[in-house]
């Protein structure tokens, strides 16, 4: 009961924030009603997807301070579980999605248990490595379609198919992912106030101190890593149905992992709104950069250079991102 109350309780934010959040929520709900281009719609769906990836990353990476650069492996597990089950056995999304979470969480224990013996940069590097290794395994694994990947062809089904999540119009996908988005916000709002949330923040503060306050540091990290994984896996499953054509080289690429971490850090790691702010800036930027520069030969990789610049800027100016700047200004005003 208390958990539900806490998830719905945003009263620790100033009223201005709540008004802004309310306006954004209303905008998200009514956006598809207004005339929009399919490009704008696709960008909005990407924004919501990456917001949820970022929320997941934020639990372990933001509140817990464990920088994880291997989230793409869990996107892959979710996506390929759903795609394989749908194509081979006609198992609908709403069943394969929880199974995807199960596989992803199991894998996160296998990865997390030894990896959390490492700290700081070593942990980050190790997560990159495991993610790339899993991608390589998927690329030679026939069950998941090897390097060619898998294709869900909508002709076999009769869209709109709500059970299998096969639609022709993007508006359906938009509302499904928007639902997940709201659930994600409520979950993180609960998490940050929960015992585990406090334990994670204490671990980020000082691990020895956390230990002497009765916190099993390793277990708390492994648990939270599993939570982060579940977030990512759900969106991975959604990604399979939405994109319909998935291959390991795209779905599980290092770019995805870095983008997830980068968005959360830019917006503000360890804050509720950070990942959403980060996604709100970077996803449109990415879409338009691609659209705008894609045509120009020789400028294809420039978005990566821009991301790298943003990482350097954020870590030099305010490590706690845009939300960190907002809070700093507020503190200064108050005192």
């Amino acid at each position: 009961m208390e958990a539900i109350k806490n998830a719905l309780d945003f009263s620790d934010f100033p009223r201005l924030d709540l008004i802004v959040v309310g306006l954004i929520a209303v905008f998200l709900l009514v956006f598809p009603v207004f005339p929009h281009s399919s490009f704008a719609m696709a960008t909005m769906i990407q924004f919501l997807m990456f917001s949820i990836y970022g929320m997941g990353w934020n639990t372990i990476g933001g509140y817990g301070g464990q920088v994880d650069l291997g989230k793409a492996q869990y996107v892959g597990i979710g996506a390929f579980t759903t795609a394989v089950m749908l194509i081979r056995w006609d198992i609908p999304f709403w069943f394969s999605m929880p199974i995807g979470i199960f596989f992803a969480v199991c894998w996160s224990f296998i990865i997390g248990y030894p990896l959390f013996r490492l700290k700081g940069h070593y942990f980050a590097i190790a997560t990159i490595a495991t993610s790339l290794v899993l991608k390589d395994i998927f690329e030679v694994w026939d069950l998941v379609g090897a390097a060619r990947g898998l294709e869900i062809s909508p002709i076999k089904y009769s869209p709109p198919d709500f059970l299998r999540l096969i639609f022709i119009e993007d508006i359906y996908y938009y509302y499904v992912i928007l639902g997940f988005f709201f659930v994600g916000i409520l979950y993180v709002n609960w998490f940050r106030k929960s015992r585990l949330g406090f334990q994670l923040r204490s671990i980020k503060d000082n691990e020895d101190m956390a230990r002497s306050l009765g916190i099993n540091v390793h277990l708390a990290k492994v648990k939270t890593y599993a939570i982060a994984t579940a977030f990512v896996s759900v969106v991975g499953s959604f990604h399979a149905c939405y994109i319909k054509n998935i291959e390991p080289a795209d779905t599980m690429s290092l770019d995805i992992s870095i983008l997830i971490a980068l968005m959360a850090m830019l917006g503000g790691a360890g804050s509720l709104w950070g990942p959403v702010i980060g996604a709100g800036i970077l996803i449109p930027l990415k879409s338009y950069l691609k659209d705008w520069l894609g045509a120009q030969a020789g400028l294809v990789g420039i978005d990566l250079i821009i991301y790298a610049g943003i990482i350097m800027l954020v870590s030099a100016v305010e490590p706690r991102g845009i939300w960190g700047i907002v809070e700093k200004v507020r503190r200064r005003k108050r005192s």
């Binding site: 406090f198 334990q199 002497s212 306050l213």
Partner: protein, 247 residues
Amino acid sequence: MAFLEVYNLTKSFGGLMANDDISFTMEKGELIGLIGPNGAGKTTLFNCISGLHPVTSGRIIFDGEDITSLKAYEVARLGLARTFQVYVASGDLTVEENVMVGCFMRTRSPSQARARAYEILKDLNLHDLSDSMVSELTVAAQKRVTMATALGSDPKLLLLDEVAAGLNPNEIEEIMDTIRHVHEDLGATVMLIEHVMELVMKVSHRVIVLDSGEKIAEGDPENIANNPQVIKAYLGERYVRERGGEI
């Protein structure tokens, strides 16, 4: 059986003997001061007892339970809390949140943890600072916050590592009151590492002296202050002269 029993505790880092064959016991309700020059192994002893360092050899029994090979978080859950000499905070937590982390050891419920944290902060006269970031506070206030955080876990035994270091005389007076309050009114058994002699000698029932990893003396404050070995190793002749004693 004593409340805390330490038998032949030895801790070596490579070739360095940080703690060499230390034994002592502590009764429930006692307040023991642990003194000695820098590098004597006082903090190492705390780290061994609280489980942060695995001991090289020896045994530690706390409240009837052998805690020698337990992990730090397991020791903490048995009711042994400690503070740290140097408080390093990334500055993400407010004072209240910090104390709540301690309280969460005994409850799962955020509202209960918050209520308990409020009680403790009020009790230690820190409730005005509830919403401040720990990193923004004065050293004196930070030290009291670390005590409040440790108290959040309702400890039976509290190890305080230099809570008075770097404080001015008024602040020392304040922290001394806090220590007395915790010990007498809240009923915690306390062991403290301290360099501020007027504090140690005033509040301690008993004093243990370490030098180069070895226990060189143990006794009531008066005896320790006059012990020639302790004077030579640590207190120094000036301290004795200032107290009006004979050398």
